[in-house]
């Protein structure tokens, strides 16, 4: 199969399994994309982990711990897919802590208050589930299959986040302010989350049907689903230009693409500290892996 034939095959709905012959460029693109997804799941638990010990109730503490466990489990499943494509998990983790590979922009920012924890679980996970649902149709079938489980678990996280937010909105004036401030902090990164609006046909990821949704389509879906839910709580979205046109298309201020680029290339406010934490914990737990693996062999 030539590369052109392969492109036609996947465009036509053809699926690729682990071990199938595939163009080298397709395999490399998959590794890069899926590895970044795995990195994001793993790094994404750190902003939330910081709040486990400070969660307001025992129930919230357990729910948050469970969410962290889910996300680390997603990283495990996703790195497994990358391993079958030729890059071992150890190499993925090495490259991550060395700053050679990327993770999603939203995980480079601090979680200042419990309001941030609610906004992350509700809106960051909502934005993520939109991208992940589109991956259910990915041409690389092993990735598409695990996405089913991942999306299912993300739906619990959104509920958990919305419940946190609703509880705070029904609480004191101070709690409502915490939510409003957190929303203001996260709105910029949320609008950058799905990436700049490149036309789908210029995107190799789309031609190979690794992604089946253009960036702008994902953002519109996010705005469509969640802006009304934000507004109905009496919250203000910090974008004076945000409105839905008569054609249903949302208008908004241009997201800060320079900030997105700067942050994902390792210059976010929390990038270095979180990678440092990952580096330390990896070194500190090395003896556990050695002992367990030696024992199990």
């Amino acid at each position: 199969m030539t590369e052109t034939e392969f492109e036609a095959y996947v465009q036509d709905g053809g699926q690729v399994e682990a071990g199938d012959p595939m163009p080298e460029a397709y395999r490399k693109a998959l590794v890069k994309f899926i590895e970044m997804h795995g990195n994001s799941e793993l790094m994404g638990v750190l902003p939330e982990r910081e709040w486990i010990l400070r969660a307001p109730t025992l129930q919230r503490k357990l729910a948050l711990t469970s969410k962290v466990q889910d996300e680390v489990g997603h990283a495990q499943l996703i790195y497994r897919v990358v391993e079958d494509l030729g890059k071992p998990r150890e190499a993925c983790l090495e490259d991550l802590v060395a700053g050679k590979t990327k993770f999603h922009n939203v995980f480079h920012y601090p979680t200042k208050t419990w309001g941030d924890v609610g906004v992350i679980a509700w809106l960051v996970d909502a934005a993520a589930i939109i991208s992940q649902k589109a991956l259910l149709k990915c041409s690389y079938a092993p990735y598409a299959r695990i996405m089913k489980k991942i999306c299912w678990e993300e739906s619990f996280h959104i509920l958990h986040g919305r419940d946190v937010i609703l509880t705070m909105m029904n609480g004191t004036e101070e709690q409502r302010e915490l939510v409003q401030e957190a929303l203001a902090r996260w709105w910029g990164p949320l609008m950058q989350f799905h990436g700049n609006p490149i036309p789908a046909e210029d995107d190799a990821m789309y031609r190979w049907r690794i992604k089946s949704q253009a960036n702008e389509e994902a953002r519109q879906q996010f705005l469509d689903g969640y802006v009304p839910q934000i507004w109905e709580l009496g919250l203000t979205v910090p974008d004076p230009k945000l409105r839905q046109g008569k054609d249903g298309i949302w208008e908004y201020s241009e997201p800060d693409w320079e900030e997105l680029k700067w942050v994902v290339t390792g210059h976010g406010p929390e990038t270095e500290r979180r990678l440092g934490f990952r580096r330390t914990s990896r070194a500190e737990t090395a003896w556990v892996r050695r002992a367990v693996l030696a024992n199990a062999a």
Partner: protein, 95 residues
């Protein structure tokens, strides 16, 4: 060692491929599979199979060398025959 995990959502349903995992031995494979695929009670049962033990057959369909339409529903066109039989018996033409 790589293991493939198949999960059955409810009793009596077919097992479907869930994903794969890497584990140093079957004990770890079981522990990981329970964590990955059964933590919320979403699986009734799991099959955990070493990847090497899975025998795969590609394009398993036995080709239509002969006319084998008797194996398919479209191999049986009853409409005209039924019409004729009903006409012969003089029964009302329902459908």
């Amino acid at each position: 060692m790589i293991y493939e995990v198949f999960r059955q959502e409810r009793e009596g349903q077919p097992f479907q491929h869930g994903g794969s995992l890497e584990a140093p031995n079957p004990t770890f494979a079981e522990a990981y599979a329970r964590e990955f695929y059964a933590r919320r009670g979403e699986s009734f049962s799991l099959w955990i199979v070493p990847r090497d033990a899975v025998m795969e057959v590609r394009e398993p369909y036995v080709a239509d060398v002969f006319d084998r339409d008797y194996r398919r529903v479209d191999g049986y066109s009853l409409k005209m025959k039924l019409k004729e039989a009903r006409g012969r018996a003089g029964t009302p033409h329902t459908r």
